[in-house]
Amino acid sequence: MAEMVLPQFGMGMADGTIIAWHKVVGEVVQQGERLCDVEAAKTTVEVGATCSGVLRQILVAAGKNVPVNTVIAIIGDEAVGQNVAAAQVPPPPPPTPAAPISVAEALVPIAIASEKPEAAQMRGHTGRTPQVEPRARRAARLHKVDLAVVVGTGPGGRIVEEDVTRRAQSLSDSSRAGAAPRNLGVGRFHQFRMRFDAGPLVNLAEELAKFYHKTFLIEAMLARAVGVAMSDAGIADGSIGVRADDGTVKVLQQAIALGLTVIADRLAGGEAMSMCSPTIVVDLHLEDWLDETISFDPTGPASLTFGKSARGADDTGTEWTVLLTCSEQGPNVSQSKLFLKSLRELLNSPVAILV
């Protein structure tokens, strides 16, 4: 019998929200196997089981926010029955007001589970992984949806493609994705806002500068990350423009294929202006705070504006905000979501942009 506590991902993390449980009470878990997702201030982390056994209790329901080190679950010995185990081990301290919750409750915060409670309960009852049709598996890969949290509505509870796409839709619609579409009321635009920690990217730029003995502009780092994310999102014709302080735009043609050092050299040198409009214009306002009240008028298909998150005048943190604004000629809504999702992953661990 072991207690699982809410982990602390960094010194600054005081609390976290359980986004989803991937196991139900009574299921066998292996050490390290994905047990739940925890969202902290700056990141969402998949939390693995600390030991192998049977998930005996879920003490914090999905959707609840609790302080770090709060006991969130009890994992029991697989071989020992629950009653025997309970007799041998003193009852867990009551760390939260939350009472131990049932299987059905554990699944409620999942958007689709609430639509089909009978399906959720059925699956929880059997505890068996449902069948997944191959095209649902493909959709899950495409939309990066974890099948463990999808409730099947097909024959015999089989997960079908529509279950996955619905889940992907609800994920990107929810605040969990860190981005919500806005209607600018000017033609058919869409806009997404996302906050991220620029610390890793700034640190990497400094390390590269030491190694190569030359400056790696943050613009170059961002342009490279944007190129990789465009490729991930399947945005064709991946040219990137970088707007300079004087308003002129340097264009990197076929930027998806360009490595970081090439981008850095081109931006540092006098790369000629291109007549064609780049797919995405990167615009930096790093001296400004950026909030969602700022409106933009992209002249090309899409613009991506970076600035510090508005947290107050004395904020010295590294949290930035990025606004993606796309016109009808730019990436569509689903591409934009995929793009931002990929961009956030790259900015969280920017080493990937060196590949």
Binding site: E133, P134, R135, R138, G154, P155, V160, E161
Partner: protein, 322 residues
């Protein structure tokens, strides 16, 4: 346009091609006596020297035909029924199929081997075979299995004009089937499947006479609100997999109907290719409706239960939806 039967379509293709190209001639057992009705008027039009009656020696017939083909003739060999291909197996597989390759392209074998598949009427074990899958596994042979008179005529013309050996498997249960046939000359290219009916819920690929059964099953399913797409591959070598894969990408479900024995059937082959190349499009396991892996009994009541039927196709479609 005129309505013609399957047999008339065969006869017309032979007749017209013999008129078009003097190198075309017919060989076979009981060819001159118009045994099945596919050579009406040919002796009168082209004379005895272009339609040869042969002794009951299929290996010899095939060897002679292969030799004639290699020196510029275009023989059409009538094997009467498909199991009679077996005595000629060595000639078909070692000579006909391989010569163009063995001689580095210096020899070509423009030969058509026609074989009727007569089954379902008490032909018993030795006469009821539908053996086209055996020949699908032999490189160098093209294989057509026409499902209607229009295709029969158009494909047989392509076969006769083709510089490679072609085996034509003709389902005798279709002999009296009629379809509109254009007066003008036409040929149907090999490797182009026909979409007989479009649908969104399940793809049924049916071979030869099975197309008719599949269309009946599709009509029954439509009454239940299930939209079935029926595809006729028309030729098995070359096989139009892109059309099948595209359909499966749309429907996510596949039922294969093949009157050959199930083991290593054309259905097995198509199933394997879709599993490899179309797996992520699937919503359900691929179903096969084939003939049971056993010999064909003389008793027709027992015999007919072994072959695919409309009921079995409907059951398979339902299973992909369950």
């Amino acid at each position: 346009m005129a309505e013609k039967t399957y047999l008339e379509a065969i006869r017309d293709a032979l007749f017209e091609e013999m008129g078009r190209d003097p190198a075309v001639f017919i060989m076979g057992e009981d060819a001159r006596c118009n045994f099945f009705g596919t050579t009406s008027g040919i002796i009168e039009a082209y004379g005895l020297e272009r339609i040869l009656d042969c002794p009951i020696a299929e290996a010899g017939i095939t060897g002679v035909a292969a030799g004639a083909a290699m020196v510029g003739m275009r023989p059409v060999v009538d094997f009467t029924i498909a199991p009679f291909l077996y005595p000629a197996m060595d000639q078909i597989c070692s000579i006909v199929a391989k010569s163009r390759y063995l001689y580095g392209g210096q020899a070509k074998v423009p030969l058509v081997l026609r074989a009727n598949m007569i089954y379902g009427n008490g032909g018993a074990a030795q006469h009821s075979d539908r053996p086209y899958p055996m020949f699908m596994s032999m490189p160098g042979l093209k294989i057509m299995v026409p499902s209607n008179p229009y295709d029969m005529k158009g494909l047989l013309k392509t076969a006769i004009r083709d510089d490679d050996p072609v085996m034509s498997f003709e389902d005798a249960n279709l002999w009296s089937m009629k379809s509109e046939i254009p007066d003008a000359d036409y040929a149907i290219p090999f490797g182009q499947a026909a979409i007989k009916r479009t649908g969104n819920d399940c793809t049924v690929v049916a071979i030869g006479a099975m197309v008719t059964l599949a269309m009946e099953a599709a009509a029954l399913m439509e009454a239940e609100g299930v939209s079935v797409e029926v595809i006729d591959p028309r030729t098995l070598v070359p096989l139009d997999m892109p059309t099948i894969l595209e359909s499966v990408a749309k429907t996510g479900r596949l039922v294969l109907v093949d009157v050959a024995w199930e083991r290593c059937s054309a259905a097995d082959h198509i199933s394997a290719v879709v599993s490899e190349e179309g797996f992520w499009d699937l919503r359900a396991p691929i179903m096969k409706v084939c003939t049971e892996n056993t010999h064909i009994p003389f008793n027709t009541a027992v015999e007919r239960q072994l072959y695919p039927s409309c009921d079995r196709i409907v059951a398979a479609i339902r299973k992909t939806l369950a």
